[in-house]
Amino acid sequence: MTDQTITINDQTFSFEPGETILEVARRNDIDIPTLCYLKGATPTGSCRICVVEVKNARNLLPACSTPAEPGMVVYTESPKVVESRKMTIKLLLSSGNHNCAVRSGDPDNWTAYQLRVQDYDNSGDLCPAWGDCELQNLAFRYQVCGEPFPTAPPHYSMETVNPFIVRDFSRCILCGRCVQACNEIQVNNAISFGYRGAETKIVAAGDRPLRDSDCVFCGECVQACPVGALFEKNARYDWRPWEVKKTRTTCSYCGVGCQLELHVKNNEVVKITGAEDTPPNFGSLCVKGRFGFDFINSGDRLTTPLIKEDGKFRKASWNEALNLTVKWLSEIKETHGPDSIGVLSSARVTNEENYLAQKFTRAALKTNNVDHCARL
């Protein structure tokens, strides 16, 4: 039997048959940068960022789609590799409206370029993905700037006609992660590559807006997008990673129990993302979980106890409302017995709250009349 080991950066690692160089490296905490690679989907090797040098191979090989082979000798940051990555990053930066600082280049053209982007984008701010962009991170990591002159104006105008997702084709690097997220992770089969060559575009239903396609607005593509091409409409320019505090919690809609991150700014939820790499959802969400959070900060929320008098509600203090509640419940229990009272606990509140509701019903009211809407 052949020895199932490879050498990466002079360290030897064992591998399972079928594992790629990238998988072996990541499992051993060796960082190989990727852009088009999407965990759980078929590697395409299209962006060329993850290339590595393999001894005796003619060319650099994409780590994401090259299977580990016994005795392979791999270098992940050799001069050849770094040079190749720099060129790839430079070309990607030059391909569209990547108007972060790394796209500076020629100071004489900076303003004209920004104005052109602003015209396309309707915003004077830098890219909405600033600080949360994998391409920007790579540009810093490898110290690359874009071309000193602006590229041709974008081929396609922005799509803003649906309520959830902005598709900014000027910032799309055609990595295809969104296509994989849609077709291989969520399997909604709504988007694909369309047209050819320089005209290539991610299209839905023969190049129609998402709302007129099979898209169900799960937003898996938005979470998969490494740059600023796909963005939550309401969070666009209203969310920067350093402005929000993220809290991991459990979704409050259906029973799947997706793990999500609430992004909170000034005591308001401004964005929700799926918690990656963890069951049950492994980063996936649906339209309600990702976009249906307006209710949390809704102006319709109840903010004070209310007491009905002559058919109308009036505001009351907690003390008054609780006293009235206790007076009624005690009187009815006294007069008609404990079984004349019913309590509905809730499939929406926590275990701890359900537990106390039934404990209260049984231990304080002395009835078993407690139920919730499991049947409804």
Binding site: E184, V187, R211, V216, C218, K233, N234, K245, T247, T249, S252, G255, V256, G257, Q259, P279, P280, S284, C286, V287, K288, F291, G292, F295, I296, S298, D300, R301, K308, L322, T325, V326, W328, P338, D339, I341, G342, V343, S345, S346, A347, R348, V349, T350, N351, E353, N354, A357, Q358, F360, R362, A363, K366, N368, N369, V370, H372, A374, R375, L376
Partner: protein, 528 residues
């Protein structure tokens, strides 16, 4: 679920019955679709509507509403006849096979076709597909349970799974998909009239004694209380005088709403604790503002029995309080003090009283939730139930005959109505209808009807019609759709102003007390 969500991708055959999975459990539906697309699993969808999931399916069986026992018995008839059943599983793990065999004997494919409308040949093919699989997973939802025969339907699916040895194995199982974030937890916590936490019966003297000791009380009531579907009629009759409702909106979600409204109006006292002024809260004498999930700490249990953390991310509006603090304060003022510093303390009490939760702590589920049962601190949890034996030893086959639904179509009410949810709305809409984006996608109620029925009744897409049953009527727009099959219409129940539940039938399953939301008879007329 007997099995985990991730386990779905290990199934060879997936049978989805009465679940519009892509709309109601979208993320879970991805596991099904991936299994089909990439793992070679075969998918059988059984549903009265041609739901989106049928696009991914190898077979779509279309049963008449309320005929589930018949097609499930039919599958078992074919499986036994063709010797596809798992003889060793039946011998070692089950009892009652002979009775089952005798019962399903009459459910020949032709007889089943006469009841369900499923062509005999399709039934045979589906039986061969499920019966031949090494691991077959059954997923079901309210399309199975919300019937007067809901309990029979579920037991029949369990029969089918046991017959083929599909329990206690990876990729198998009988898997109900729970529709609300913590409906599993509410049941686990004893938010039910007959059990304490972990399904310890209130009629069991030892369980009562244990709770009395832990709670420092005596004389806990020993007879089961009223389920919600009995509370409403009792309120109507004047026997139930007061209700304390926490975070529920029965005045949209209850069946036969007109009757439910009258019942609630007869209460002497109603206190509602919620985050919004719901239709139910509007009927209350006192309304108490509570916090939503993002404003509190605690735990939810998902459909695969996984206990997961809920964490506070922001401050609640105004003087809204966490539900548990409100309940504890009412209790204190009624003379039964409850003293807890935080949700963690309550959870510790729960774990101490509930064997299936005994090994779970907040620390253990900090990153990843644990599937109950988890009896000890070093127990890893139980993703797959019944691997060695069933809870009560042997699995019991129940010989179940077919019973028709409570209401049938006739000349006056010639169409069947079934109800359900939409992808872009949730339950009674109190949360989702406050989202501009979701409302843009699903702004109003509609009646989904086949092109054939629309033509027959002279209806065109988009027009407003009146839909009436024996109990009430509503107005909604016509939506002519390929999803509908001749003779059956569908209305979502989210929209209070056109509440489908004014039409639905409150007839109950005698065991589970679940109403028959999924079948009633209606007529459709041009709106005045």
């Amino acid at each position: 679920m007997t099995n985990s969500i991730a386990d779905i991708e290990k199934a060879e055959v997936i049978l989805v019955a009465g679940s519009n999975t892509t709309e109601n459990h979208p993320v879970l539906s991805s596991f099904v679709k991936r299994a089909v697309k990439f793992k070679g699993a075969k998918l059988i969808v059984v549903d009265p509507r041609q739901i989106k999931l049928t696009r991914h399916a190898n077979m779509w069986l279309r049963p008449n509403l309320g005929s589930d026992v018949a097609w499930i018995n039919g599958l078992m008839h074919v499986i036994i006849k063709e010797d596809l059943h798992d003889q060793s599983f039946i011998e070692n793990r089950t009892t009652g096979f002979e009775e089952l065999k005798a019962m399903v004997d009459k459910f020949s494919p032709d007889y089943v076709e006469s009841i369900t409308g499923i062509p005999a040949q399709q039934l045979i093919e589906a039986a061969r597909l499920y019966g031949s699989a090494k691991a077959g997973s059954i997923l079901y939802c309210m399309g199975i349970t919300q019937h007067t025969t809901g309990t029979d339907n579920v037991k029949s699916l369990a029969n089918l799974a046991m017959l083929c040895g599909n329990l206690g194995i990876e990729g198998g199982g009988v898997n109900p998909l729970r529709g609300q974030n913590n409906v599993q937890g509410a049941c686990d916590m004893g938010g039910l009239p007959n059990v304490y936490t972990g399904y310890q019966k209130v009629t069991d003297e030892a369980a009562r004694a244990k709770m009395e000791k832990a709670w420092g009380v005596s004389g806990l009531p020993d007879k089961p209380g009223l389920p919600v579907t009995h509370m409403v009629p009792k309120a109507y009759d004047g026997e139930l005088k007061a209700m304390y409702i926490i975070g529920e909106n029965p005045l949209v979600s209850d069946p036969d709403l007109n009757h439910a409204e009258k019942s609630f109006s007869r209460l002497e006292f109603l206190v509602v604790q919620d985050i919004f002024m719901t239709e139910t809260a509007q009927q209350a004498d006192v309304v108490l503002p509570s916090t939503c999930f993002a404003e509190k700490n605690g735990t939810f249990v998902n459909t695969e029995r996984r206990v997961q953390r809920v964490r506070k991310a922001l401050e609640p509006p105004g003087s809204a309080r966490e539900d548990w603090r409100i309940t504890a304060e009412i209790s204190r003022r009624m003379g039964y003090p409850m003293r807890y510093e935080n949700a963690r303390e309550i959870f510790e009490e729960i774990a101490g009283l509930t064997p299936s939760y005994a090994g779970i702590t907040y620390d253990r589920i900090e990153k990843v939730g644990i599937h109950w049962p988890c009896p000890t601190p070093d127990h890893p949890g139980t993703p797959v139930l019944h691997t060695q034996q069933f809870t009560h030893g042997k699995g019991v086959f129940h010989a179940i005959d077919y019973i028709p639904p409570a209401e049938r179509v006739d000349t006056e009410y010639p169409l069947y109505l079934t109800t359900g949810r939409l992808l872009y709305q949730f339950h009674t809409g109190t949360m989702t209808r406050r989202s501009e984006g979701l409302n843009d996608r699903a702004p109003e109620s509609f009646v989904e009807i086949s092109a054939g029925d629309a033509e027959k009744n002279g209806l065109i897409d988009g027009q407003t019609v009146r839909i009436a049953s024996r109990r009430g009527e509503i107005e909604a727009r016509v939506k002519v759709s390929d999803q509908a099959v001749d003779g059956t219409v569908f209305i979502p129940f989210h929209f209070a102003e056109a509440a489908a539940n004014r039409l639905t039938n409150a007839a109950l399953d005698p065991v589970a007390n679940i109403p028959e939301f999924k079948v009633c008879a209606v007529k459709i007329e041009q709106a005045a």
